[in-house]
């Protein structure tokens, strides 16, 4: 008999060590159960998602297409890789609480086009450049994927993507461009737009479509 098996035998039902082991096991099992959804998205998957998104962005900015065609491509990329409903709700902020579900659906659609056009135009300025993923790490309750945009005749700049799977699918929900946070900027911008329309969400939805 080996030494460990001797020790095993001595662990009777009332032995405190046995209880500690059982308790430890229960906690461990609990960890696995509770932890499973939270860690379903790992750092490699987050990196892979942004790798694919960036691959499509690079293909678009070097495609030589017209501006309208490029903006259309960007809207497609945004729809496939970004959690648009979550971004839209966060950008609308507290006003989203009192909006009806029909209004939220209409706002989300209008916002999708608005954000794709706005950021598509910025990405279009990267024409001839290349974006590369440089790293990925867990951050708070999500993942941050770092990338660098290399543009002709300019210092490279820092582009970070915040990725989560809490919508049920792996999606990015924020882009940080040289420290400037898209969600924060859009919360300010959409808030100002709503103020200008005296809180009229329907007017905002209508106007977003033409911006």
């Amino acid at each position: 008999m080996t030494r460990s098996s001797i020790r095993m035998q001595t662990l009777t039902a009332t032995d405190p060590r046995r209880r500690a082991l059982l308790a430890g096991g229960a906690v461990y099992a609990g960890f696995l159960l509770a932890g499973a959804p939270a860690f379903a998205l790992n750092v490699d998957q987050a990196r892979n998602l942004i790798d694919r998104a960036i691959g499509e962005v690079n293909a678009t900015i070097n495609s030589g297409k017209s501006e309208a065609a490029m903006l259309n491509d960007f809207e497609g990329i945004f729809t496939r890789y970004a959690d648009v409903p979550t971004i839209a709700r966060s950008a609308l902020g507290p006003a989203a609480r009192s909006a009806s579900s029909a209004q939220m659906a209409a706002f989300t659609e209008a916002f999708r086009g608005y954000i794709a056009r706005k950021y598509g135009r910025r990405f279009r300025e990267f024409i001839g450049g290349q974006i590369e993923v440089t790293g990925a790490q867990p951050l708070k309750s999500y993942f941050e994927v770092s990338s660098v945009a290399k543009l002709r005749g300019q210092a490279p700049f820092d582009l970070r993507w915040h990725v989560s799977d809490r919508s049920g699918r792996q999606m990015f929900f924020n882009i940080i461009i040289e420290g400037v946070n898209m969600l924060a900027a859009e919360r300010t911008e959409i808030g100002s737009m709503l103020d200008r329309r005296r809180g009229d969400l329907n007017a905002l939805i209508a106007d977003l479509k033409s911006i």
Partner: protein, 250 residues
């Protein structure tokens, strides 16, 4: 913490110099909405918008054929090289000696091989610019950013960074070394280089300055977030929005 001890002494005379913003040794975390001068800042911003519409944007578009071409890159190179001595000085004052040495090599290479800074062989060798200014030096010494300020012509800043600009203008080694008319040429080159930037980033500048629903609020947010990022400052919780934990952000 040598700078800390120096600073405690400095802090005693700081109020006399009007440097009330030098509050602690480690720079305090930025305050989200520190904008007590908002109403006058907004007036200055309106002035800057009008100035951009009526003068800067048309000028930038006028010189774009030049700044966009090879002459433009020469102008950019010279302007960048002229800013190097000041960056070296500030990196040294910040105790970032590796960056200071890096910038010194860059300046030496571009001034010699690059024929007085007309060309930029240093970047091709991986010695890209590591910018620094006295606002960043004040940050390294423990100064908080102070209130947000909108400066006429120069645009968004903070109390700390505006003071930094004044000090930079005085201590710039190039400014000390050059006399009229060379100093005038140097200034002219920097202005043309800035106009080139205005043209190159035209779409971005227009979208923030002229198309935004509240362009003052956007400018302030963009400037502060970008500046804090540049200085490697601890970002406040507002920068890490988690829309899943807090869907309405309130």
């Amino acid at each position: 913490m040598l700078f800390c001890r120096r600073l405690t002494h400095f802090r005693r005379v700081a109020p006399i110099l009007g440097l009330g913003l030098l509050a602690a040794c480690a720079a305090p975390p930025p305050v989200a909405d520190n904008d007590p001068y908002e109403s006058s800042n907004r007036r200055t911003h309106a002035f800057n918008q009008a100035l951009d519409t009526n003068l800067i944007r048309p000028l930038a578009r006028g010189v774009e054929p030049v700044t966009n071409g090879p002459v433009g890159s020469v102008i950019n190179n010279v302007a960048g090289n002229l800013s190097m001595p000041s960056a070296i000085l500030n990196k040294t004052l910040q105790g970032k000696f590796e960056d200071a040495v890096h910038n010194t090599w860059r300046f030496a290479l571009n001034t010699t091989l690059g024929i007085g800074g007309l060309f930029d062989p240093a970047s091709a060798m991986g010695l890209t610019e590591r910018d620094a200014d006295f606002g960043g030096t004040l940050h390294a010494w423990g100064a908080g950013e102070g209130a947000f300020l909108m400066l006429p012509v120069l645009g968004p800043s903070t109390e700390r960074d505006a003071l930094g600009k004044v000090v930079d203008a005085v201590i710039d080694p190039v400014g000390v070394a050059l006399h009229s008319p060379q100093s005038g040429y140097a200034r002219g080159i920097k202005v043309v280089s800035k106009l080139g930037d205005r043209a190159r980033f035209g779409g971005t500048v227009d979208s923030i300055m002229h198309e935004s629903a509240d362009s003052y609020a956007q400018t302030r947010l963009l400037y502060l977030q970008n500046r804090r990022f540049e200085l490697g400052q601890e970002v406040g919780d507002d920068a890490f929005i988690d829309p899943y934990a807090n869907p309405y952000g309130d």
